[in-house]
Amino acid sequence: MMKRDFDPQVKQLLDGELTLADLPAELRQEGEEALRLLAAVDREPVSLPAVTWRVMAALERRRQRRLAWLLAPALAAAAALVLWLGRPASPAAPASSAMVTVRFVLVAPGAHQVSVAGTFNRWDPSATPLVRSGSADMWVATLSLPPGQHQYAFVVDGVRWVPDPTAPAIDDGFGRRNSVLTL
């Protein structure tokens, strides 16, 4: 097919510098063809609502990979949290090769004694006591745990089993909830 360029005046028409009426009669048809081209331009707006949290999630994922010890602001206000420390820097490293240091924190106003019990210590409420830290209401304990899945709960004053309010939780089969830690 022979290549045919638009006449320079038709290009001015497309640029909005001339109108169809300004074109000489012999260029009208070409001008109409050109305007049909512009009429096919899709100016429908495009909205990308998912981008906001996709961006923030991408930044968050990188932050989690890069930082060894960080209290996420969103979690700081929560009652309890678990910090993951010492995950192998390279995600390709064999998962079983490194213990993961986990810090358990519970804010328990009025408690006299707090411990954490779970699959990692045979659910023994006396095995892993938390100690007061900073504020009188904050209790902490740091453990090294193997990669894998762990279930746990806090035990307040030796009798009250409390799931971690910031962690995922499942039914324990006894009418309560167990918190879940996946390392």
Binding site: P91, R122, W123, D124, P168, D171, D172, G173, T182
Partner: protein, 225 residues
């Protein structure tokens, strides 16, 4: 004669292993469960061992019930439920891998995912991603964790299977629940958060990992017009 000898030795070895397993269950539950619970776990443990199911989750549930002061009959129900969940997970994994038996670690991960609210077909779907068993195991744990965060099964499976198919490393899979929690903290529902991450993982599978972030801040010079 030699063959018969080997058979006898084999039988003795199996019997000794079974006996060891029973003694091991009794030892682990010693002082941590009533006699009837010990007997129940031994009985279920025998079935579990013969079917290739893990025994540890049964022992853990019995110990947990005792530690929480739960009545024995309720502990027995909970232990039986764990057995049923492991059995469901194992069947799902077998169905997805043309009857090749799964290892006990993978089954335990599947059992947990069932406890967290996934179904057998969800487990099978994740196993059908064609990834190595070790990756599927991590995927199942992460899927269970997402379900425990309130992500519905369909979105959980979509996200984890997309991530597995994208070839994400275990470390990246393990970061998914944290990412979902971040989005929830910003007001997304668990389903919305998971669906968006799934789209990102699917895009990664389509286009490969995101390009290097080291490009110059200005576009390439256009060719001379």
């Amino acid at each position: 004669m030699k063959r018969a000898g080997r058979l006898v030795l084999g039988f003795v070895a199996v019997a000794a292993t079974a006996l060891d397993a029973q003694q091991s269950i009794a030892a682990r539950l010693s002082g941590r469960a009533s006699a009837e619970i010990v007997a129940l776990v031994q009985e279920l443990g025998r079935s579990a061992a013969s079917q290739g199911l893990p025994v540890d989750p049964l022992i853990q549930k019995a110990i947990e019930g005792n530690a929480k002061g739960v009545p024995a009959e309720r502990v027995a129900s909970a232990v039986r439920l764990v057995f049923a969940q492991l059995d469901t997970a194992a069947a799902a994994l077998r169905s997805a891998t043309h009857n090749s038996p799964a290892d006990t670690v993978e089954i335990a991960a599947g059992g947990f995912a069932i406890t967290a609210g996934l179904r057998g077909r969800d487990i099978a779907e994740l196993a059908r991603t064609g990834r190595p068993a070790a990756d599927v195991t991590v995927g199942l744990r992460v899927a269970g964790t997402l379900a425990a965060l309130g992500v519905p099964p369909a979105e959980t499976v979509a996200l984890v299977s997309a991530s597995l198919r994208a070839g994400q490393a275990p470390g990246d899979l393990l970061a998914l629940p944290g990412s979902v929690q971040s989005e929830m903290a910003r007001g997304a529902t668990p389903a919305q958060a998971a669906a968006g991450l799934a789209r990102a993982a699917a895009a990664q599978a389509r286009h490969g990992p995101p390009a290097d972030h080291g490009l110059p801040p200005h576009p390439p010079a256009p060719p001379h017009p």
